[in-house]
Amino acid sequence: MKSRAYADPYIAGVGIGLVLLAAYAVAGRGLGASGAFSTVVAAGTVAVRGHGAAASPAVAPYLSGGILHDWLVLELCGVALGGFLSAWLAGRFHFAVERGPHLGVRGRVAASVCGGVLMGIGAKFARGCTSGQALTGGALLSAGSWLFIAGCFATAYLLSPVARRLWR
């Protein structure tokens, strides 16, 4: 099956903006992603190390409601399902490792994991990621969210020549 072209980026963006606005109105909060990872890690920590680990100040805030009642975990499950539906309907669902023209599959997987580790740590320090800080907090004009946006893009552009072999 031939895959369809992507939607216009401005239309996709307005769509996301309306979803975010609906979240503000319905739930009094915005969208997010990294917070769900925190909840999953906290639940995993307790499962592996036992209930004694639940008192740790790093995980305790993420154990309040139970993983299947957590707003961000449910939201992120929805994100995955929505992404799958869109890709499948557009004929874009297939198994692949997407990478730059000069990078092998192993190198790309390793880079993905390393980038993920940095994002995990960074999102913890920042108390959110591109969804919870840049979009949700950015649209509310939160000072910290705009500091996050500045730090994120400035660093990515600054390091882009060093990372050139990954993508060009």
Binding site: A7, A12, V14, G15, I16, G17, L18, V19, A27, G28, L31, A33, S34, F37, T45, S56, P57, V59, H69, W71, L72, E75, C77, V79, A80, L81, G82, G83, L85, A87, A90, F93, F95, R99, G100, S112, G116, V117, M119, G120, I121, G122, F125, A126, R127, S131, L135, A139, L140, L141, S142, A143, S145, F148, A150, G151, C152, T155, A156, W167
Partner: protein
Amino acid sequence: MTVEWAASVLGLAFGFCLERGGLAFAPKLAAQFYLTDLTVFKVMFSALLTAMLGAFWLDKLGLMDLSQVAMPETFVLPQLVGGALFGAGFLIAGLCPGTSCVAAASGRLDGVAAIAGILAGVAAFNSAYGWIAPFYASTARGAIGFPELLGMSHGLGVALVTAMALGGFWAAERIERSRA
């Protein structure tokens, strides 16, 4: 509709829009940083603009109470440093946490690898929390907007972001055309 259902439905729409815009395809996201495809900026800032202007005007018209929406708290240095670490990771992985999930859900194994990395990063942060905690809690400013911090009205902040985004869209179109 319970709030839990709302979370899943809103997430579904969010993920659908991200994939539609091409943000499950890592090389397209990374191209943002080489200025050959500015889709990330366009999607992100048209979303931010829509939500910001929508919330501002619904609040002005009395249809929504913006003070009831949870504003993320500001921690100046941790958020700058966190943003920098995050930006480096975003460049290397070509995906962010939300788009990693969309990439994985559309069959892309680089998305799965990024998810594994994020989980490991969060776990590493938690393990080191004891000695990270003082910095993590430092330079706290509470839930404050940048207009308030700079002594301007919220409306002026909204106008400035709008002008910056529109200028950015104009520049993005020019840059893409010049590199085509």
